[in-house]
């Protein structure tokens, strides 16, 4: 519980209606230690952060709260939901400026009208439109979250408002690296991003999808001109990766999403039962690992050219098209789901209520895929024991920036309230992470393994990071990085990079 005088001071800043530590609020935010504050502006964020510094009470911030890792001591949560304005869309310079409470579906809707789109995290368009980190389905065109952020307004852990990149020198949002300070790596260590510009990209599709039907099956009666969706499976991972690279090099795909069959199945079905039945059908047809491709032509000749190149690549790599996806109804369903990114919840949560993921962002090829193939084997063992959802255990991923970069991932869907299921998944995560280090395959994201274990493998970066943190956050109360397993409060079983034991300072 916060000191009452502190609570009163926060009330004066945001108004009594925008702060609460009531038990019901604590339950809704999944922490017995939380006091939730709803700031409405950068100035209010700054004022609350300064109060936190004054009382030396830690704070965290969240945009939409999809993934939240509550600390185990009294803290202030800045829920930035009220900061929900799209500040600017600059079509000429191709960026959009948003506050954290804007969700990607909202920004994309406005961008579509202008022939533009944006990067959307794989978690879904229900999450913040801010770039931040996070990779998504359209990455082959829109790159990764952390390569999309431009100028940024940032409240430091001490409560100073810093404008980064071109914003600091010219008041313009077009660049994250200057003229002016570039602290793009630093801002992920804490503080609160209150406004940010994100890059936007050309969208050759309609200004909106004229959908018919009703939930949970909205239908696009007519496929937009010059669009095609296909799913290809391959005889081996090598062949699949070869195809990915060739598609990237030829720059023909709008989207290349390495769905495993269960993700395709979840996307195109409207209930669990239908999902499991459909998956069995898909598994009969696929010959091995695969991906979904969306071709989007700017005009008929462009479309024809891209299709022909794709055809050639698929031929060269022995790819096989999944017939069910060639059905126009399924094809258009995938098109809308995978460009508006509205099906991630089906993929991850519908079956068991939670998922635990292992991912590597930035790379895909060779080592990472090999590592997660091992993880898939370990997962299949859990499937056999009935401890995670039976989805055949595939890893998945996708090419980004025309295959300069990539993303590789595997997740276990499970029931967080089934003790055996939860324990098995936690153990699987730990083993897969340890294997990443032992085999020199990858560096698991912070928080999965103790920092003392990971840091030395990364030039003791954690020690340097501590110094930076100390400089920006001398009271050590700022938004500490962490990593949660989405949908379940199991993160306390893992060691966050900056998680401290015991009471707050």
């Amino acid at each position: 519980m916060l000191p009452r005088s502190m609570y009163k001071e926060i009330e004066l800043v945001v108004g009594p209606e925008n702060v609460s530590d009531d038990i019901s609020i604590k339950y809704a935010y999944r922490s017995p230690y939380v006091t939730v504050v709803l700031p409405g502006s950068t100035e209010e964020v700054q004022a609350v952060v300064k109060i936190c510094n004054k009382y030396k009470v830690p704070f965290k911030a969240q945009s939409t709260g999809w993934s939240f890792y509550p600390p185990e001591y009294d803290f202030v949560l800045l829920d930035l939901r009220r900061m929900d304005r799209i500040i600017e869309i600059d079509e000429k310079n191709m960026y959009a400026v948003c506050e954290p409470g804007v969700i990607a579906a909202e920004l994309q809707a406005e961008l579509f009208k202008r022939g533009l789109t944006c990067n959307i995290k794989g978690a879904g368009s229900n999450c913040t439109a801010l770039a931040l980190s996070g990779h998504g389905h359209m990455g082959i065109t829109t790159s990764t979250g952390d390569r999309n952020d431009l100028a940024t307004e940032w409240v430091t852990d001490e409560g100073e408002i810093i404008r980064l990149g071109s914003l600091s020198s010219s008041g313009e949002w077009f660049c994250g690296d200057g003229p002016g300070p570039s602290l793009r790596a630093i801002i992920r260590s804490g503080g609160v991003i209150t406004k940010q510009a994100t890059k936007v990209y050309h969208w050759p599709g309609p200004t909106y999808y004229d959908l018919k039907g009703s939930s949970p099956q909205y239908i696009l009666l007519e496929k937009p001109a010059n669009f095609m969706v296909r799913y290809f499976s391959f005889p081996s991972i090598e062949k699949m990766l070869e195809a990915e690279l060739k598609i990237g090099e030829s720059e023909i795909a709008f989207e290349l999403m390495g769905f495993c069959p269960s993700m395709v199945s979840s996307n195109i079905t409207t209930s669990n039962e239908e999902d499991f039945t459909t998956l069995q059908e898909l598994l009969k047809e696929v010959q091995g690992p695969g991906f979904m491709v969306i071709i989007a032509g700017n005009y008929p000749e462009d479309f024809e050219y891209k299709k022909k190149v794709l055809e050639q690549i698929i031929k060269e790599t022995s790819g096989k098209s999944l017939k069910i996806v060639e059905d126009p109804k399924v094809e258009t369903t995938l098109l809308i789901q995978c460009t508006r990114i509205s099906a991630s919840i089906r993929e991850t949560f519908r079956a068991g209520g939670a998922f635990a993921s292992m991912m590597v962002q930035g790379q895909r090829y060779d080592l990472h895929v090999r590592w997660l193939e091992e993880a898939a084997e370990m997962k299949r063992e859990l499937i056999r024991k009935g401890l995670v959802i039976a989805d055949e255990g595939y890893q998945f991923g996708w090419a980004e920036e025309n295959a300069h970069l990539g993303h590789t991932e595997i997740f276990c869907r499970y029931n967080p309230y089934d003790e055996a299921s939860l324990k098995a998944v936690q153990e699987w995560v730990r083993k897969v992470a340890e294997r990443a280090l032992e085999g020199c395959f990858a560096l698991p994201r912070p928080g999965i393994l103790p920092v003392e274990m990971v840091g030395p493998r990364m030039s003791n970066y954690h020690l340097w990071f501590e110094k930076i943190k100390e400089a920006f956050d001398p009271n050590y109360i700022g938004g500490l990085t962490g990593f949660s397993y989405v949908g379940v409060d199991s993160a306390s079983d893992h060691t966050s990079l900056y998680k401290r034991k015991g009471p707050a300072p």
Binding site: A28, A109, S271, Q337, R340, I389, G487
Partner: protein, 420 residues
């Protein structure tokens, strides 16, 4: 039914926030992306559908603490079901039902809203849910309608409390009665014998009072000989069609007046004689639309294992099969009239503010909600908002008055009346 029955559903909430927005694919404008008035107004996650599930889940496990904030959250839910639709776009779980049970739990344990208590006392003493002097059947004066207390009929018309006791809405049942007469429908009303359907009592959390009303209404209908109940109120429609069925009271067909009008016009029994050069937008009442979907009786068990699936497979009510087309079809049959749809429509329509008894318990919030709907209606360029429920009409009219805008609010029957 109790909140305990939905423990599994509440545990399925993954905190994705889908319940706050219209189905994501349908978002066309950042201004009209919200779907839940409660979270849109109060912003704490606790006010969202998912937030309430998390609270319910925790309180079920750790004990109920009836704090002011908790009760504010519970009683400032419009129970409009929008969260339920948006969640079920992706998930297989109940959302609205546990939220409704959460409120029931509060009321059953004596933690009600004082305004609700007042309204329910009115129901218990006078069989009505709204203030207002005068006779219940005042609207029917001079129409010479059959009295079901004495005569057998095929159709029992239930006007509902608001249309009966608020003179401003007498035009709705009067017009309905005139049209049914013109169409030669053998119908009657219960005059002073009509009593509240109990639907809004159920919304407010008073299940026992709902049961009392249901039992009495079943008797009225049985005695009338009618096999069909027709109502022009969305809340009554929901009560008779969905709740009576859910709790085993339904022994008759239930039609909303727009469903019957569509049929009668198509059969030529009501003739559209005049054109109406009018640009309208249609507001879907929640209790007629997404919540008007028939009840699905389900008796199954969750299968053992980690998947949230049932034996036999559970068919969820996802809001898609409510009464959406009949009112639109009736409007489409009027020459000269053009419908301009709002962005949020049908199963993901924004509530008018009257749901869940909030128009009584928190009129400011109800008005705020209605004003948001008004803004959306105005964007269509329509000059008239047409709806099919007196409660919606009331809220939208309040919003028009509050904003001082030049927009009219009509019921569907009022539109038809001008053409016959």
């Amino acid at each position: 039914m109790a909140i305990e029955d939905y423990e599994g559903d509440m545990k399925m909430c993954c905190r994705c926030s889908a319940c706050k927005y219209i189905p994501l694919q349908m978002i066309r404008h950042s201004k009209f992306s919200d779907v839940c008035p409660s979270i849109a107004r109060y912003n704490f996650h606790a006010y969202s559908g998912g937030g309430k599930l998390l609270i319910g889940r925790e309180m079920l496990a750790k004990g109920f603490e009836y704090t002011d904030r908790f009760l504010h959250i519970v009683f400032n839910c419009l129970l409009c079901g929008a969260c339920d639709v948006s969640c079920k776009y992706a998930m297989d779980m109940e959302v609205l039902l546990p939220i409704s049970e959460l409120r029931m739990k509060c009321v059953e344990n004596g933690n009600t809203h004082p305004t609700f208590e007042k309204v329910i006392n009115l129901l218990r003493s006078k069989g009505k849910m709204v203030e207002g002097e005068g006779k219940r059947s005042e609207w029917a004066e001079g129409l010479n309608i059959k009295d079901v207390r004495r005569e057998k009929v095929e159709v029992y018309y239930h006007a509902g409390c608001l249309s009966s006791y608020n003179k401003e809405y007498h035009h709705i049942p009067r017009t309905v009665a005139k049209m049914l007469k013109e169409a030669g429908v053998n119908f009657g009303i219960a005059y002073e014998g009509e009593i509240c359907c109990g639907g809004r009592a159920h919304e407010m959390g008073y299940r026992e009072d709902f049961f009392n009303q249901a039992m009495k209404n079943v008797e009225i209908v049985k005695r009338s000989g009618a096999r069909v109940i027709v109502t022009s109120c969305a809340h009554c429609y929901h009560a008779f069609k969905v709740l009576y069925d859910r709790y085993g009271f339904k022994e008759f067909e239930v039609l909303h007046i727009t469903e019957l009008l569509e049929k009668l016009i198509k059969e030529g029994r009501i003739k559209i004689r005049n054109s109406l050069a009018l640009n309208v937008t249609y507001h879907d009442p929640c209790y007629l639309g997404r919540l008007g979907e028939a009840w699905i009786h389900f008796k199954g068990k969750k299968l053992p294992g980690i998947k949230f699936v049932f034996d036999p497979p559970k068919t969820y009510r996802r809001g898609a099969h409510g009464v959406y087309n009949p009112p639109r079809e009736v409007l489409r049959m009027i020459p000269g009239l053009k419908i301009y749809e709002m962005e949020r429509k049908k199963e993901y329509a924004w509530c008018c503010g009257a749901g869940g008894g909030v128009s009584e318990s928190n009129p400011d919030f109800a008005l705020w909600t209605a004003e948001r709907r008004l803004e959306e209606a105005m964007e269509t360029g329509a000059t008239v908002i047409v709806t099919a429920c007196p409660w919606c009409e009331q809220m939208l009219k309040k919003a028009v008055a509050s904003r001082g805008v030049d927009l009219q609010v009509w019921d569907v029957v009022e539109v038809v009346e001008r053409t016959i």
